[in-house]
């Protein structure tokens, strides 16, 4: 993921907002697009950006933080290299998504909405991935893994960890 420099970020989004918003304080309607563009640029919303946006549009940082944490679309931490989405929809739930989740948690040491310390994995939960016929299902990056058992899940994760280990040694 390419991190945008503050200057690029400014050029892309802020300048127009600045013109428009500096005199119109508290336009909550404009906050969401601004946050979205921050997330698009950085992959997440860095703490500094919150203060920056706050100064710029005159919306207090506490309020912005309230909005960010209210909507699940916003993230305050960068995503890991691989994003694992576990389906907790009805079909998957019935077919043992709980156990899959447990083995993921054991293997990664993180729970839902967290990123592993090595920055490799982020675990997210979704309501339905649209392939209930092969439930329980997880999706890693854009690849779907279906008809999972806890053991299979472990193996898959190990596969993803392998190349990284090689890099290190």
């Amino acid at each position: 993921m390419t991190e945008l420099k503050k200057s690029d970020f400014e050029k892309k989004t802020i300048v127009d907002f600045k013109k428009d918003l500096i005199n119109k304080r508290k336009q909550h309607g404009s906050l969401i697009p601004l946050l979205q563009s921050a997330q698009d640029s950085y992959g997440y919303i860095p703490e500094k950006t919150v203060y920056y946006i706050s100064e710029l549009v005159g919306i207090p940082s506490a309020e912005i933080y309230g909005v960010i944490t209210f909507y699940s679309q916003f993230r305050l931490k960068p995503l890991g290299k691989h994003v694992i989405r576990i389906c907790e929809g009805t079909a998957c739930h019935v077919n043992g998504a709980k156990n899959i989740l447990k083995s993921l948690q054991n293997e990664l040491g993180i729970s839902i909405d967290e990123t592993s310390d090595d920055g490799l994995f982020t675990l997210l939960s979704v309501a339905c991935l649209g392939c209930c016929s092969i439930s329980p299902v997880i999706m890693i990056d854009s690849k779907i893994y279906g008809k999972l058992t806890p053991d299979m899940t472990k193996k898959i994760i190990k596969e993803y960890k392998k190349p990284e280990k090689q890099n290190v040694s």
Binding site: N23, R25, K26, E47, V50, Y51, G58, P60, S61, A62, E63, I64, Y65, G66, T69, F70, L76
Partner: protein, 774 residues
């Protein structure tokens, strides 16, 4: 407009909510989140009602009345639903005691609740007996909770000053969030996350201090539960009485109510319903007053300096000693220092005593220096606070509104929010900064030139900076621009020059002016007595022309001056280094009736609510007793006799000042001294004490004798909160602890001093810093 509520036909105004309509006619609808001063929220759902022709159960606090509406507020279904809703709320609230069979007996087994860190049930909660949740539980007769009870185990937030936060008790009514945003215009806190993860607080893990909390206590007042509680009053219980008074901690003299229990002051609040009024007080009027009046450090008995050391003496003995000292001395060789916190009645008594009986005209105050006089003489043209409402352009100059002058900062914020351009000139970020159209930082070390440029730019179009151009343009197109001057100007070496230019700018543009100062009755002092500047008195002292110093509530010296004897009369002990020969304990605000004058010379009265501690007595009574002892003239100094003599309209007279040419050269920062150090005398002074020194919580927000530094600078220099650093100018150096805070911009340092004089000259002063111990 006619509506029917519970078969009762009532006439109501258009546009009000059903809840308000019902309340106006004494129909009670249970509610928790709605609040008089705040916009409707609809969070708690307790105020649900039935309206004919409307689907579902709308909330009364968010639904407006309509003509011919038929409303039912207390049907069986409604009450049943309310009970369910309230149980849901209670399922996350420590409430065992609310429904416990033994609740009546509980208190007799209660031991030291102060030692309980967390609230475990209603009888163990600071709000017990005064809680809105309890009242609703009683009303709905809840005696069990059918849902599983869930304790959130949130850590108790008690590490910040003045109020504790236990969000395990929070019912998420968002009153605190709304009062902070809508009424106080501070927006420090917000609802974070969703559902059962919801919490309340500032962004990220910021502390309230860093998030810009003013510690105004509005959120604490309106919290319906014990989630927010005042540290100083947490276990104080319900007050016996509420008494009207005014705050003596700055010249705005806000109206307050004093909460009393068993003859003691247990708290102060803004006027109005104690649970509804967000008010306009600052931290001092809201939280500090109680601490000061109950301070264990009060002087309670007369003390005399014997050859063997200080000893407590009786009033008779003390009066005899005072009489002896005063009889022995030539009146011309007596100098008097008066505190600007004295009431008009006390000042007038002092005038009669010292002018007519002792026969001295050497009367001054530690604050009466030439800069203050240049500043305060502008106040003759000052408008009143209310008139700010009429302005269409506001310019504040060196106003540090942090923890101070709340009604003023509030009216600036209100105006700016409605679109009035607000320019903030100065270094410090305060509660108004977020509302500034532009904050202009004068070029460091070139402040006078900066104001000169503004004046020039007004007179003829020019080549000044775009910021100044914009400012001048806005002032010129406004019909009623107002300059608000902050007392920080007085501390600048070039104050007199800068003030002259500001005066010129005001005349050129036809602007109005508003001044504040941190002293409750400076105007009264200057109106009732002919004073001298303290520079003049200090000169007399150093020329050995003074034998006796009589200091009333003031603190003018850093060490004992060369005089024969010193009498200190104050609610607080004289500093040890002064070696006062006689210390007389006097009563203070709360213990005396009296009056203060505001900037326009109008008089505001207040009454005593309690008695002074120990053997302290009123200043006027002290004069009376000493006068009897030396008995030269028959004058009555008592409050009653004196108050008749106070003129209806006050007019200030300023002491004469000899202006010396400036010695210190003002220069901007350079490569060897790259940072600009700004020194500010701690404005939070009351009589001879500093609130920061006397109140631990105040010390946390206004720390004396520490360097405040911008986080970005600190990061660059790898300096952390609490580190100790060397600050060095070209002629002076000293070690200070560091506080990292956003209130000061990069490349500036702020030092709030406890002393009346500055160590670094000039002010502001270019310095460089390095870490101590590296």
């Amino acid at each position: 407009m006619k509506v029917t509520i519970d078969n009762q036909e009532i006439y109501v105004k258009e546009g009000i909510t059903i809840l308000d309509a019902a309340q106006e006619h004494n129909i009670y609808i249970p509610h928790l989140c709605s609040h008089l001063e705040l916009s409707p929220y609809g969070g708690c759902r307790l105020c649900i009602i039935e309206v004919e022709g409307m689907k579902g159960y709308p909330t009364a606090c968010t639904t407006k009345v309509e003509d011919k509406m038929v409303i039912r507020t207390h049907t069986k279904t409604l009450q049943q639903m309310r009970r369910e809703i309230l149980q849901l709320i209670l399922s996350e609230h420590p409430s065992a005691c609310l429904i416990c069979d033994e609740q009546e007996e509980c208190s007799s087994f209660q031991q030291t609740i102060r030692k309980v860190g967390a609230t475990t049930g209603c009888r163990w909660c600071p709000k017990d007996g005064d809680c809105e949740l309890q009242k609703v539980v009683d009303y709905l007769e809840i005696d069990k909770i059918t849902f599983p009870v869930y304790y959130r185990q949130l850590p108790i937030e008690n590490h910040e000053p003045f109020y504790d936060r236990d969000y395990n008790l929070c019912i998420y009514c968002a009153r605190c969030v709304r009062i902070c945003e809508e009424h106080r215009k501070s927006s420090v806190i917000s609802l974070r996350q969703r559902g059962r993860f919801s919490t309340i607080g500032p962004a990220f893990n910021m502390s309230h201090i860093d998030a810009g909390c003013e510690f105004c206590g509005a959120c604490v007042s309106v919290c319906p539960t014990g989630a927010l509680s005042e540290k100083g009053r947490k276990w104080g219980g319900i007050p016996d009485s509420y008494n009207a008074s005014i705050c003596p901690l700055c010249d705005l003299n806000c109206d307050i109510q004093v909460l009393m229990k068993k003859g003691k002051v247990i708290g102060t609040l803004p006027p109005g319903d104690p649970h509804q009024s967000g008010g306009e007080l600052c931290v001092k009027g809201r939280f500090c007053l109680t601490h000061i009046i109950n301070s264990p450090d009060r002087l309670k008995e007369p003390e005399y300096l014997f050859d063997e050391g200080i000893g407590i003496v009786s009033w008779d003995e003390a009066v005899k000693q005072a009489g002896k000292m005063l009889k022995d001395v030539n009146g011309k060789r007596v100098a008097v220092y008066l505190s600007p916190n004295l009431t008009l009645e006390e000042i007038l008594a002092a005038k009669l005593f010292f002018k007519d009986i002792i026969n001295t005209s050497n009367i001054t105050s530690s604050i009466l220096n030439s800069n203050l006089i240049s500043y305060i003489s502008l106040s003759e043209e000052s408008i009143s606070l209310k008139e700010i409402e009429k302005s269409d352009c506001i310019i504040s100059v060196f106003l540090n509104g942090n923890y101070n002058y709340a009604p003023l900062t509030l009216s600036i914020k209100q105006k700016a929010e409605k679109g009035t351009p607000y320019f903030q000139i100065g270094w410090i970020k305060d509660t108004t900064s977020r509302y500034a159209y532009q904050q202009i930082i004068p070029f460091p070390g070139r402040e006078k030139t900066f104001f000169n440029k503004i004046a020039q730019s007004i007179e003829n179009a020019d080549n000044s900076s775009p910021e100044i151009k914009e400012l001048v343009k806005k002032i010129k197109i406004s019909s009623n621009p107002i300059f608000i001057l902050g007392p920080d100007i007085m501390g600048l070496t070039e104050a007199d020059g800068i003030l002259k230019i500001i005066k010129k700018i005001i005349t050129l543009t036809g602007s109005k002016i508003f001044l504040t100062n941190p002293y409750s009755n400076l105007i009264g002092l200057l109106s009732l007595i002919d004073t001298k500047s303290n520079e003049e008195i200090n000169e007399l002292i150093s020329q050995k022309k003074i034998d006796l110093l009589y200091i009333i509530g003031d603190n003018p010296f850093q060490k004992r001056p060369p005089v024969n004897s010193i009498i200190c009369q104050s609610p607080f002990p004289a500093p040890d280094y002064l070696n006062a020969d006689l210390a007389l304990p006097s009563a203070m605000w709360g213990e005396i009736s009296g009056s203060f004058a505001d900037i326009k010379g109008n008089i505001k009265k207040f009454k005593a609510v309690t008695n002074p501690p120990g053997k302290a007595i009123q200043n006027n009574e002290i004069f009376d007793r000493i006068n009897k002892e030396i008995g030269k003239k028959d004058i009555k100094f008592t409050y009653k006799g004196i108050s008749k003599l106070i003129p209806k309209k006050l007019e200030m007279r300023f002491p004469f000042v000899k202006r010396k040419p400036l010695k210190a050269k003002i220069s901007p920062p350079n490569t060897s001294f790259p940072l600009l150090l700004i020194q500010e005398k701690n404005p939070h002074i009351f009589y001879n004490i500093s609130l920061s020194n006397n109140i631990r919580d105040m010390r946390e927000i206004v720390t004396e004798d520490a360097i405040i530094m911008n986080p970005t600078d600190a990061l660059k220099m790898e300096i952390q909160n609490g580190d100790s650093i060397f600050v060095k100018s070209d002629i002076y150096e000293k070690i200070y602890p560091i506080i990292v805070r956003k209130i000061i911009p990069q490349n500036f340092l702020l030092l709030i001093t406890s002393s009346r004089t500055f160590d670094f000259n000039p002010n502001p002063c270019p310095v460089h810093i390095r870490r101590n111990n590296v």
